[in-house]
Symmetry: D2
């Protein structure tokens, strides 16, 4: 069994770091990935792919990325189902991210101000 996803796209929003009840860092984000061709109307289309990031990767992403940042993401597709408020079964698909690569050349200002050592990932 193999389940492997590679994406390069842009963050649709500033990432917001949260923590699980047990204190595990955790981040939900949506990647906008433009399709490499135009549709019949000559328009560019985009897939908005929902991703979950955990632990150190979540912390780094929230530190070094913002709305519009270009990132690479390695992970797996995960599916789950649950019932919504009206008792209807909903099927959800998301990418469970195990690795994030920062592909923007410019480092965010916050970093240089603090003089902090960037993770090597941030140098594409």
């Amino acid at each position: 069994m193999i389940n492997q996803v590679t994406l390069v796209g842009r963050l649709t929003k500033d990432p917001e770091l949260t923590y699980t009840a047990l204190g595990r860092p955790f981040l939900q984000m949506t990647l906008a990935v433009n399709r490499p061709y135009r549709n019949q109307q000559g328009m560019t289309e985009t897939d908005f792919i929902y991703c979950k990031v955990w632990n150190k990767s979540a912390e780094n992403t929230s530190k070094y990325c913002q709305k519009g940042s270009l990132i690479g993401v390695l992970g797996t597709i995960q599916t789950r189902s649950y019932e919504d408020q009206e008792g209807k079964r909903i099927y959800a698909t998301e990418v469970n991210v195990h690795t994030v690569r920062f592909l923007d050349k410019k480092r965010p200002n916050a970093e240089s101000e603090e003089g902090e050592l960037l993770p090597i990932l941030n140098l594409p």
Copy 2:
């Protein structure tokens, strides 16, 4: 922008070939992909990943595969949204498959009966 998915898993059902209004062969299938570790309760978990296959790949898959067949799938993640009957917006994620690899050793009977040349893909 990169959007790349690789899966190896088993078909949850016999694939059913259909055709679009314009006569394009088309196949919807769900791949069961076991996760490679056990959860906290010691249970194996499985992702059920919804896939769409088109054209010749759809025809070959419906010919040479059945419920339980082990296949490899290359494609991209696609997202779309629509309104359900109650006017609620639903977000759907699926894998748009561009290549199928048949990984079962045994060829299906249908094929040997017809004496037809198997696509090379079928020899893993």
Copy 3:
């Protein structure tokens, strides 16, 4: 920067586990990966891809695989250069494997005899 390889192919030989000077388990293997099309002479072609596996993955591969086993491999391409006996610079490319998936249905006999718990990876 992204460097991601996914292969499914067959072992060209029985894998041979060795250990580094520091006692780290280590395995070199070649995967035969058939190309999915015929060349101009109507022949199937095959890529023989050199791989390195480390630690627990190396031990499991040597235990559960043999010449001809179908496996999936996730890893990265690595390059290095060195001088051969005549002082000529040689450029070598190999796949550094971080994950192995066992895709043969039958488990090797050795295992059932010993009654040992198979890694979940071995159930494709």
Copy 4:
């Protein structure tokens, strides 16, 4: 059988377009892909991965890329062997590229001068 490679890295040289005897556009290039961690000496390491690009992709790459350009590459690993001048057998590994994605934000000057429509791939 699956053989899938995804790389994001930088061109080590200006790409040089050539043509086969039959007039097929063709490009050899080396991608520098930094490893995402430091070695024991605290140094960044880089894999220099030899790639072959064909046809339209070769033409676009030579038009829109130059030394240092950040690109994404999808392809397969191919191996071949040949004899060198001294009759020694050499084993070569390369990436056969089927898709190139241009990930630099700035479009090369050549393009705006000619006023030509950029392939959509060039808008990351």
